[in-house]
C-alpha cells in the first residue's frame, strides 16, 4: 500500500454497500445516524435497483405510512432522505473481488478496477447483478465473443457484416434501426408477429423491412449456432414451416436482463439456494465484517419485502458500528428528539 498513486485512487469509507436498491439506500440513513459514512456500488447505471430498472411505474402498497407509492417515487424519496449523509456512488460497475487487508479492512475491486476500502461490507444485492438473458442454445458459449454478442459494445464491429438480431423488445428494435444502414445484411428474428417496443420504433422497423433494408423473420426462434472458431450460420426454427439456415457473422440475442448472484457467490459466504445465509441477530454472514440485507439474504422465516429489508439494514448498522469501532460507545437515539445531523461531503473532508 506504499504506492501514493494507488492510495489516491482508492475510495475509503466506513460501510461499503454493494447494491443501491431501496435497502442499500436506507442503510445509508441508519449508518448516518451513527456517524458512519457509506459508499455504494451498483452494476446498474442508476440507483434504485429493480424498482427503477424493472418497475418504476408500479405502485407499492406495503410501505408503512404510504397507502400507495410508485416504485420510482420511493427511490427518489430515499435519495432525499439520505442526502444529508453524502454517500458516494460507483455506478454501472460490478464488485468483483474482496480481499482482507493487513489493517483488517476489506478491499473491494470492481470490474473496471475501482478500489474501495472499508472495515464493513453490506451486501444489499437484491436478486443479484443484472446480466443479459442468454438463450439456451447448445454450445452457444463456445462462440461468445466470436460472433455471439449479448451487448452491442462497438457498432463498428458489424460494418459490412451479416448480422442476425433476436428479440422483440426495445433494444432489439433500436439496434436493428441503428445498424441497418452500415451492415451487409440484417435479419431480425422474433417469436411473435407483434413487437412490444415503442410504437415509433416498431413502425420504423416495419418500414425498413418493407424497403428491403432488413429481413424480418417472425414466429421463429434461433435454435442452433454453427461455426468452428467463429460464428458462420444459425438454424432458425419456424413455428409452421420447419427449419431454415441463416448465414451470420454475428448473432446478437437481446432478451433483456436477468439477475445473477455473480462474483459475490465466490466470496466464501455461506449460500443457500442462491441467497446468503445470515444470523437474524444482526444479519451478519459467516464472514465477520460482512453483512447481507434485503432480498439477497435468507434465514428461517425470511420474507422478501422492502419493509423487512429496512429493518435488517437498521439492525445491521448497529452491529456494524460495534464491529468497526469497538472502542466507541454506541448510543441509540430517536430522530424526533435529536433531528438529523448531516455530514460534510467527501470533497470538503480533508
Amino acid at each position: 500500500m506504499g504506492d501514493l498513486n494507488m492510495q489516491t485512487n482508492t475510495i475509503e469509507t466506513d460501510i461499503l454497500i454493494i447494491g443501491a436498491g431501496p435497502v442499500g439506500l436506507f442503510a445509508v440513513f441508519e449508518a448516518g445516524l451513527l456517524k458512519m459514512r457509506c459508499h455504494l456500488i451498483d452494476v446498474l447505471p442508476q440507483v434504485g435497483g429493480q424498482l427503477t430498472e424493472i418497475y418504476p411505474k408500479k405502485p407499492i402498497y406495503d410501505i408503512p405510512g404510504y397507502p400507495s407509492v410508485m416504485a420510482g417515487e420511493l427511490v427518489d424519496n430515499l435519495m432525499k432522505q439520505i442526502q444529508p449523509f453524502q454517500p458516494g456512488f460507483t455506478l454501472g460497475d460490478r464488485a468483483e473481488t474482496v480481499e482482507k487487508q493487513a489493517d483488517g479492512r476489506w478491499l473491494v475491486v470492481t470490474q473496471r478496477g475501482v478500489r474501495h476500502l472499508a472495515p464493513v461490507i453490506f451486501i444489499a444485492g437484491g436478486l443479484g447483478s443484472f446480466e443479459p438473458r442468454k438463450p439456451p442454445i447448445p454450445n452457444i458459449e463456445n462462440l461468445e465473443d466470436n460472433g455471439v454478442d449479448y451487448f452491442v459494445r462497438n457498432p463498428e464491429l458489424y460494418r459490412g457484416k451479416n448480422i442476425v438480431i433476436a428479440g422483440g423488445g426495445d433494444s432489439a428494435l433500436d439496434w436493428t434501426i441503428f445498424l441497418a444502414d452500415s451492415v451487409k445484411s440484417l435479419t431480425l428474428v422474433h417469436r411473435r408477429t407483434e413487437f412490444r417496443g415503442a410504437p415509433d420504433s416498431v413502425e420504423k422497423v416495419m418500414e425498413l423491412a418493407h424497403m428491403g433494408k432488413i429481413k424480418l423473420v417472425t414466429n421463429a426462434q434461433v435454435t442452433a449456432v454453427h461455426g468452428e472458431k467463429h460464428l458462420e450460420a444459425l438454424t432458425v426454427q419456424h413455428d409452421t414451416e420447419g427449419e431454415s439456415m441463416l448465414q451470420a457473422d454475428h448473432f446478437i440475442p437481446l432478451f433483456g436482463l436477468t439477475p445473477k448472484l455473480g462474483p459475490i457467490g465466490e466470496w466464501g459466504l455461506a449460500v443457500d439456494k442462491g441467497a446468503i445465509t445470515v444470523d437474524t441477530l444482526d444479519y451478519s454472514t459467516n464472514v465477520p465484517g460482512i453483512y447481507a440485507i434485503g432480498d439477497i439474504n435468507t434465514y428461517p422465516g425470511k420474507l422478501k419485502l422492502i419493509l423487512c429489508g429496512f429493518h435488517e439494514a437498521t439492525l445491521a448498522c448497529q452491529s456494524a458500528f460495534k464491529f468497526a469501532f469497538p472502542d466507541k460507545k454506541l448510543s441509540f437515539k430517536y430522530t424526533t428528539v435529536t433531528g438529523i445531523e448531516g455530514m460534510p461531503s467527501t470533497a470538503e473532508k480533508v
Binding site: K134, P135, P136, G169, R191, R192, R196, Q221, G256
Partner: protein, 108 residues
C-alpha cells in the same frame, strides 16, 4: 372439499404431483407450486417479469388470454410453445379443477 380444487403439476423429471389448491386465498399457480415446494423460483414475485414460473398448460382449460405484460415476458423467455403461460398470471378458481400443467425447462 369446498373451495378446494385439484391441480396436477408435472415437474421437470416428469413426476406428477396432484395438488390440493384452495380457491379462497387469492393464490396463483406459481404461489401454489411454491407452497408445495416444487422447483418454481418465482423470482420476480408474480409481476410477470422473470418467466421462472413458465408452464405448459396440457388440459383444455378456459383461461383468460395472456395480458400484454405476460406476452412481453414470454417474448424474452425460452422454450416457449403455443400452450406456454406464466404460472403467476393464472389465478386459481373453481373452473380450473383438474387442470394439468408441466413445468417448462429452466433457463439461466
Amino acid at each position: 372439499m369446498e373451495n378446494t380444487i385439484q391441480i396436477t403439476v408435472i415437474d421437470r423429471e416428469n413426476v406428477e404431483h396432484v395438488l390440493d389448491a384452495p380457491t379462497d386465498m387469492g393464490l396463483n399457480l406459481m404461489e401454489l407450486c411454491k407452497s408445495y415446494e416444487l422447483p418454481v423460483k418465482g423470482t420476480c414475485g408474480g409481476m410477470a417479469l422473470c418467466a421462472s414460473c413458465h408452464v405448459y398448460v396440457l388440459t383444455d382449460q378456459d383461461l383468460p388470454e395472456p395480458s400484454e405484460d405476460e406476452h412481453n415476458m414470454l417474448d424474452s423467455a425460452f422454450f416457449v410453445q403455443a400452450n406456454s403461460r406464466l404460472g403467476c398470471q393464472i389465478k386459481l378458481h373453481q373452473e380450473l379443477d383438474g387442470m394439468v400443467v408441466k413445468l417448462a425447462e429452466e433457463s439461466e
